[in-house]
């Protein structure tokens, strides 16, 4: 069972759910977005800040490191300048293959080894040129053989084939002294070279900017503070060299430690900053989570309350809104068979239902009218039947009250027969109507020549017309054939003729006319009777309808005739209309569709009985 209220409430629920859901999603999504945006910004801000801080720290560190290194170098340089002549520095030098060859021994085999030789340099006064002394290194680390000291400037001049350069750098790679050729372009020391162990050399093949290939020999040597003696060796084929010694004086350990500490501090700080940043970030994240969670809760609660509120309100409103329908259905249920009235105040009917209510009222009132008519009809029937029956009974009873002559009995019986016939006719009509109502009436069609049928009816009626002093005429021309139920058509015509005679003036006319028109057969019965008022015309074919509500003489029609005529014509597919003028007369016009064949006017086909 469908319910408007339920449907409305369900729709409301759905709509509400959708709306609230959308609202919730929207609000939550936008809140989340905002939160995320804030977090992003925070993250970027933090990142920027910490990056900045980190960079600055790094720079600071670098600067500090630089400063430390520079301080170290300065110290070194300072010490270098302060060193007595015999002090040596760490040195790196570059040796060409030729040089090596030359130095290494005889032949021109590239050996590339300077293991046997090393150059030692010692610094004099500040602006004094450095002296480069070839030294030889023995198996023992501190076994050094030194050759004659050469001046650096001489180096290269005296031995033109020796194309060699040298560079003395500090521990950190800063070039301190370099041969002229290298002054423009210092040799960069890579970390591998810087990490060399003491007095261990390393070989690299390099290309200078000039494009020349050179072999670079790198050797790390300690800087001495004061000379100490060392043993001179003479086992190898080296020339005699003065022997020098040096000792390690300035170590880079402190520098390293400092740098390491610096680096550590930097890293620690960075770590702390990262941690802080991360902490701040996650704190923010947590806060926003909390905020979002509380927003969620708030939203859910609000939505729930709204939902319930609106549902409650909605149900109440729906009930109110549907009240008119309830009122109407209440009024409808109160409609009784007695009054057929819908008790509904018209000003309280909503527009949407107004037309329904209107229609309902109309239907009810026409039902009421129909009902009244039926009731009246029922009363009329009973009345119609009772009077003839009463006559019959009265006639018989009066006759039987005393002994009478046979002639009297005969007359009485004749009267009874007449009344009986009347009753019979009435009952027939009632039966005809009942059959029409039940729809069990059959229509047996055959080809009928209408003028012939009319002729027959007129003959039947003529005696009655004559006793009433009426003039009866039939106007026909040519055959007019229809395919219909002959018996019913006959009934129709007789009925119309009876009416024409009954409602006629004394010595009046009754005219029957048959013609063809527009593919239809037209049968007209005209009388010069009392006529029918125009307001009665629409009701003329209703049952038991009589223009004059009281009975007319000894009619056997009981007002049923025309309704039977209409009923039969409806079955036969025909039409009837009436024209009338009060005081002049009436014309009843029957129309039936013409048949396709034409019947010869001597007899009806099926019955095969020719007219006399």
């Amino acid at each position: 069972m469908r319910s408007i209220r339920l449907s409305l409430v369900i729709y409301l629920l759905v709509l509400l759910a959708v709306a609230l859901g959308a609202f919730f999603s929207f609000v939550y999504a936008s809140a989340t977005d905002q939160m995320q945006g804030v977090q992003e910004r925070l993250r970027t801000t933090l990142k920027a800040k910490y990056d900045l801080m980190g960079e600055r720290l790094e720079q600071q560190n670098k600067m500090t490191a630089e400063r430390l290194k520079a301080a170290f170098d300065r110290e070194l340089r300072h010490r270098v300048h302060l060193l007595p002549q015999e002090t040596f520095l760490t040195l790196w030098f570059k040796v060409t293959p030729m040089m090596v060859c030359g130095m290494a021994g005889s032949g021109s085999q590239p050996v590339g080894l300077a293991t046997n030789y090393a150059w030692a340099v010692w610094a004099g006064e500040a602006n004094e040129p450095w002296l480069v002394v070839p030294i030889a290194r023995g198996a023992n680390l501190f076994d050094i053989h030194v050759r004659d000291p050469w001046r650096m400037e001489q180096f290269g001049r005296d031995e033109p084939q020796v194309e060699g350069f040298f560079q003395v750098s500090s521990d950190t790679g800063t070039p301190l002294r370099a041969s002229r050729a290298l002054r423009k372009e210092h040799l960069r020391l890579e970390s591998e070279q810087l990490k060399l162990e003491l007095l261990k050399e390393r070989f690299d093949d390099i290309v200078l900017a000039s494009g020349k290939h050179h072999r670079m020999v790198t050797l790390k040597s300690p800087v001495g503070m004061r000379p100490f003696s060392f043993v001179r060796r003479s086992e190898n084929r080296m020339p005699e060299m003065p022997v020098f010694f040096w000792q390690y004086s300035m170590s880079t350990n402190e520098l390293d430690n400092d740098l390491a500490a610096l680096q550590k501090r930097l890293e620690d700080t960075r770590g702390a900053m990262e941690a802080e940043s991360y902490h701040a970030y996650s704190e923010q994240g947590r806060q926003s989570e909390v905020a979002l969670a509380s927003l969620r809760t708030w939203l859910v609660v609000t939505i729930l309350i709204t939902f319930l509120g609106i549902i409650g309100g909605g149900i109440w409103l729906v009930r109110r809104g549907l009240q008119p329908i309830e009122r109407i259905s209440l009024a409808v249920s109160k409609v009784s068979e007695k009054d057929f009235a819908l008790h509904l105040a018209p000003e309280r009917t909503p527009i949407e239902l107004a037309s329904i209510v209107e229609k309902l009222k109309e239907t009810l009132s026409s039902l009421k009218r129909a009902f009244e008519r039926e009731k009246q009809a029922a009363a009329d029937i009973s009345h119609e039947l009772r009077t003839p029956i009463a006559s019959l009974m009265a006639t018989i009873q009066v006759c039987l009250r005393k002994q009478r002559a046979p002639e009297e009995y005969r007359k009485t019986l004749q009267s009874c027969a007449d009344i009986g016939q009347q009753l019979g006719g009435l009952v027939e009509r009632l039966l005809a109507l009942a059959r029409l109502d039940a729809g069990t009436d059959q229509v047996e069609t055959q080809l009928v020549d209408v003028p012939e049928l009319a002729e027959q009816c007129v003959q039947m009626i003529r005696p009655l017309a004559e006793t009433q002093g009426l003039h009866l005429r039939l106007d026909r021309n040519g055959p007019v054939t229809v395919e219909t139920d002959a018996a019913k058509l006959r009934d129709v015509l007789i009925n119309l003729l009876h009416n024409a005679m009954q409602y006629n003036k004394p010595h009046g006319d009754v005219e029957v006319r048959i013609c063809k028109l527009d593919g239809h057969a037209t049968l007209e019965v005209r009388d010069t009777g009392v006529g029918i008022p125009s307001d009665a015309l629409p009701h003329l074919f209703e049952r038991f309808y009589r223009v004059d509500p009281s009975r007319q003489s000894d009619t056997i029609h009981a007002g049923l005739g025309l309704s039977i005529v209409k009923g039969y014509l409806d079955l036969m597919g025909g039409k009837i209309d009436v024209e009338s003028q009060v005081g002049q007369g009436s014309t009843f016009r029957v129309r039936l569709p013409l048949a396709n064949e034409v019947l010869e006017p001597t007899y009806t086909k099926k019955s095969g009985v020719p007219l006399a």
């Binding site: 009973s382 009345h383 009772r386 009077t387 006559s391 006639t395 009873q397 009066v398 007449d418 509500p549």
Partner: protein, 225 residues
């Protein structure tokens, strides 16, 4: 007694008229409301039997008009309309009795007789005057216990005199009340019937009951005379 029967169904009217006449009533017929109205206003009747479904003017309208205009004749409605509402309506509009069709003729006759009695304010159906006994129901007459047979006309005349006992009844009155419109008015038909009656009622009995009032009419001796 003279009755007016207003009924449009001819066979019924004929049968009822015959039945009433055979009981000694004079009956005028009217076949529609107009005719009935005319006759009711222009003649005097002891009772009107009125059908309701009449052409031209219907019965209830006639009833109302008559009562409004002071026509106080007793009216018996005889109709096929037998519903309670119809009966109540008919009686409330001024009818004195209501009988529905179909009916038994005996009942109609009995009711007619009752209404006649009512008209004359007589309660006992048996009229007793001296030694004369008239059973108005059975329509029998006894004098001194002896049954006397009268023709319907004779009985009607006697009954009429008896209802007016002690009062003079003129010839026109007798004519009015005992002869319908179809009877021929011969000058001494009344006297003739009085003579017939006297022969049967008074002859051979001690006291003459039917008296002549010269110049006026006749009278039945009343009980106390």
């Amino acid at each position: 007694m003279k009755l007016l029967l207003v009924e449009d169904h001819k066979p019924l009217a004929r049968a009822v008229k015959q039945g009433l006449e055979e009981e000694g009533f004079a009956v005028d017929l009217a076949a529609d409301g107009e005719e009935g109205d005319y006759k009711a206003r222009t003649s005097t009747y002891d009772l009107v039997i009125l059908d309701l479904m009449l052409p031209k003017i219907d019965g209830l309208t006639l009833l109302q008009n008559w009562r409004k205009n002071g026509i106080n004749t007793h009216i018996l409605i005889l109709t096929a309309k037998g519903e309670l509402v119809d009966k109540v309506r008919g009686l409330d509009l001024g009818a004195d009795d209501y009988l529905t069709k179909p009916f038994e003729i005996d009942e109609l006759l009995a009711r007619v007789r009752a209404l006649i009695r009512r008209k004359h304010d007589v309660k006992d159906p048996v009229l007793r005057i001296h030694d004369l006994e008239i059973d108005t129901a059975a329509r029998t007459v006894r004098r001194n216990g002896q049954r006397i047979h009268l023709t319907p006309r004779e009985y009607a005349l006697l009954e009429y005199l008896a209802f007016h006992q002690g009062k003079v009844v003129t010839r026109p009155m007798i004519w009015e009340h005992l002869y319908d419109e179809e009877d021929e008015n011969t000058s001494n038909v009344v006297d003739v019937y009085i003579r017939y009656l006297r022969n049967k009622i008074d002859r051979g009995f001690e006291k003459p009951l039917i008296l002549t009032r010269w110049g006026e009419g006749y009278m039945l001796r009343s009980t106390d005379e």
